[in-house]
Amino acid sequence: MQEICKWVVEAAVAEGAGYAEARLVDERQRALGTHNGRVGTAEDNESRGMGIRVLAQGAWGFAATPEFTRESVQLCAQQAVKIAQASSRVREQEVRLAPEPAAVAEWSSRCRIDPFSVPIEQSLELLRKIDEALRAVEGVTLAETNLNFRRHEQWFVNSEGADIHQTRTTTGAGYAAYAYAGSELQKRSYPNSFGGQWQNKGYELVEELHLLENAPRIARECVELLNAPQCPEGRATIILDSSQLGLQIHESIGHPIELDRVLGYEANFAGTSFLTLDKLDNLRYGSALVNVVADATEQHGPGLGTFAYDDEGVAAQRVPIVTEGEFRGYLSSRDTAAVIGRARSGGNMRAESWNRVPIVRMTNVSILPPADGPSFEQLIASTDDGIYMQTNRSWSIDDKRYNFQFGCEAAWEIKGGRLGRMLKNPSYSGITTEFWNSMDAICGPREWTLWGTPNCGKGQPQQTMGTGHGASPARFLNVRVGTAYKK
């Protein structure tokens, strides 16, 4: 495969490219799911192809092909250069790349149990048992389960001498129960909503999640929500569980720190950012407890944003984003780093597959737990009056990432340091920096989970990417709650 990549890079340079890179991707996916006792999803997919990105006349061009004959890749290289030449007709500045040493490397994510080697019957049996356990609880009207496996093998070669082979194995697992009664539809999910938990792991992730053991509780909570009182409207102290905090990080820190957004590249679709260049090293993003990094290294854990090299051959890094509340860094690529005069890319270029161009993406954007942070029980015990919210139900944020509103599946009152009655339809909203500055406590490392968000959309044509977000439960003061149901 390296040889094919080398042909196409050489062909592109011969056609006039000043820089060329080839990414050849071979991937396999399996999706299994049940839907009220039926097999809802049973699908295998394979896809293989190569994308070539070139710089010619100071502008980018990209072409992709699933054909690997010498003639096909030659044509693909010619097309990429021709497209770059067309791009150069409308430009106000030339593309420059921050330098990067050419890496020659081989890397695979850790995978203890190859998910494709696990008998399909075993996976379907697990899902069927979960489905049964959910629907065994009276009042549950719909149960959904899912298991997803992906193996992504990639060869990357560029005209600077990089030659990188990487393989990532990803597993996702989760389920949801729904209860409909009268004029109300409630939902509870485990271990997270919208597909559950996802990591760069093998089938061992499925075994670690204790899926079946939690199903009766999730089903009971779903039905209980129907008769729970409505989350009040007003201002409150809130505690977010780690999965919801992970999504809060994704939306209100992860996206606004993308340098391509800051520079206006996403103005037509995903939006821009309130974190204009003057804010770097000059903005109190959050309270002194807020320490956030973008970390693609294996040391951070098996997140969906973990790799050895990004999709333009830049080594994985740990980039400080917020340090003791101060805004310190962006997510960048070789070309965006050059625009702001940085010596090196942060290693954040990622592409959905072989037929998409890499764009600036989150890796694992995580909040770090203080070593001496409280346990969850201690956090609740130290809260006199508040609301504990769990598991995302809806999420929305403006196109500069200032104003957000999140809904959660379930909440519980906190009174006198103890969890009380369940509340339904909880929601909270605010302004990003005000919210992060109101954080006054966060749990320690024992409560920290590296969550996977498998479905982050960005770019035109839109690309879906998996990102990681480590978080532990945290407390926020004086937050607006209940706005989603405000009349």
């Binding site: 049973a42 394979e46 699933p66 150069s88 103005a267 939006g271 809806s394 403006d398 339809n425 909203s429």
Partner: protein
């Protein structure tokens, strides 16, 4: 590009490999190219060609049916055989299901269902230089007005095909082109987007002019108080918000009690001026005239005078409906040709939505609607819409790229963007004026034929900082 003969040949090859009772093969192939610009510069310019083959195997037995699917873009013999085997393996290990139906057979609807007018040779032949020329027209407007432009121009062609072992053969080829532009000033922005099966229908310069005008007109936006107010939603804003309800116009969603139409079918739930059909053959619609099993799409009268009349229904959903308690209340549910490829979890949905004005009603232009508005807001576009409440269909989201105060029948000034939490039941009961429905395109929902709408009491709940 994949030809119909090539597809047929591949199907025959796959059929020979199959050991299942029945086999179905779908082809999704195309050429796609997109030129993306920002800061008045082309920053991304991409092109790819693809052909994906998806094989569904069906094993029929006395206890029921087992089915599964496998796909590949590798068209060599070994890979195709592996796809057949993978789908058979996935199917064989399942328990037979009594509710699944045998493979679809032609019901007198021929071998090919194609909407032939949706292919343009000129659009298919468009290259990177032609797309750059369209971008140049949009950037020229930005430069003249000292604005910053960002957007896309894309073009391509697409094939959807389905063959099965019961002699169903479906083929659809169409082209597509799309232009989208955002103009940005110091503290304001404007946006426009349009698409068509024919690139020549798109007027990039005109879209850029409108976006620029919105950016300039909304400069120095003022903060207005959140709360219920009269809004005029331009067509793109309408489609992005109403699009969230059509997944519920589904027999499977009703059977599984996950639809907001539960206990509302046949009732007047919207205003008497709301009329909606699903019609793939409407001249402003696109897409194949068959569903995921090859069933011909029928025209559906979804809402007439505010009353929900019909929902989409796949073959399996019709069978389940017949056996369910719902059959007693709403008899005669038939397959409508809106099913998703099997196996799936969602069943079906209408995807060719066309809003119609009530008989005899005169459409008003957006300018006329503004002129008739004493006090309200004009909204270009909505953004990041998500469902807050499934049954009351409360949606939250933001305004974006051109929101204006309207007073005494005139646009007065730009306003800071607002967050809404609005029920679609409330919205579609409070439409006081509509424009002529047009083909509109947004970012939150699929393209539709929708009017601009004036809505009374639209529920804004917060204001952002810009």
């Amino acid at each position: 590009m994949l030809s119909q003969d090539q597809a047929n040949g591949l199907f025959k090859k796959l059929r020979r490999c199959s050991r299942a009772s029945d086999v179905e093969v779908t082809f999704t192939a195309g050429r796609f190219a997109l030129t993306r610009f920002a800061n008045n510069t082309i920053l991304q310019n991409v092109s790819d060609e693809s052909c994906e083959v998806s094989v569904r195997s069906v094993f029929a037995g006395p206890e029921g049916i087992r089915t599964a699917r496998a796909g590949t873009n590798k068209l060599d013999d070994d890979s195709l055989r592996r796809a057949v085997e993978a789908s058979e393996t996935l199917a064989r290990v399942q328990q037979p299901e009594a509710d699944l139906l045998p493979m679809y057979e032609p019901q007198g609807d021929g071998t090919v269902t194609a909407v032939s007018s949706r292919y343009s040779e000129e659009t298919a032949a468009m290259d990177a230089f032609a797309r750059a020329a369209e971008v140049e027209k949009m950037v020229a407007v930005a430069r003249r007005e000292k604005l910053n432009s960002a957007g896309t121009f894309s073009s391509g062609e697409h094939v959807s095909a389905l063959f099965n072992s019961r002699e169903v053969e479906r083929w659809q080829r169409e082209t597509h082109a799309q232009a989208s532009v955002t103009m940005t000033a110091a503290d304001s922005s404007g946006w426009q987007k349009a698409n068509s099966t024919t690139a020549g229908d798109l007027d990039s310069a005109s879209l850029a002019e409108i976006a620029a005008h919105k950016a300039l007109r909304s400069a120095s936006p003022r903060e207005v108080e959140a709360g219920p107010c009269t809004v005029i939603l331009e067509p793109a804003a309408v489609l992005d918000i109403v699009g969230f309800m059509f997944w519920d116009f589904s027999a499977a969603a009703l059977l599984e009690e996950r639809s907001f139409l539960n206990n509302r079918l046949g009732q007047r739930i919207f205003g008497g001026n709301i009329n909606i059909v699903d019609d793939v053959r409407h001249p402003l619609q696109t897409g194949p005239g068959f569903d995921g099993e090859g069933v011909s799409r029928q025209r559906l009268e979804l809402v007439r005078d505010g009353v929900v009349q019909q929902v989409a229904c796949a073959r399996a959903s019709a069978e389940r409906w017949r056996k369910s308690p719902l059959a007693a209340q709403h008899a005669g549910m038939q397959a409508t040709g809106h099913g998703f490829p099997l196996p799936n979890e969602m069943g079906e949905a209408p995807v060719n939505i066309v809003f119609q004005l009530p008989g005899g009603a005169r459409p008003q232009s957006v300018d006329e609607i503004v002129a008739s508005t004493e006090r309200g807001l004009l909204v270009t576009r909505l953004w990041y819409i998500r469902e807050v409440d499934s049954y009351e269909k409360i949606l939250t989201g933001m305004t974006r790229d051109g929101t204006f105060r309207v007073e005494d029948g005139r646009i007065r000034y730009g306003v800071r963007n607002l967050r809404f939490n609005e029920s679609l039941l409330h919205l579609l009961n409070n439409v006081s004026a509509m424009s002529e429905p047009v083909r509109a395109s947004g970012e939150e929902s699929f393209d539709m034929v929708v009017p601009a709408m004036k809505v009374e009491g639209f529920n804004f709940t917060e204001v952002t900082r810009f």
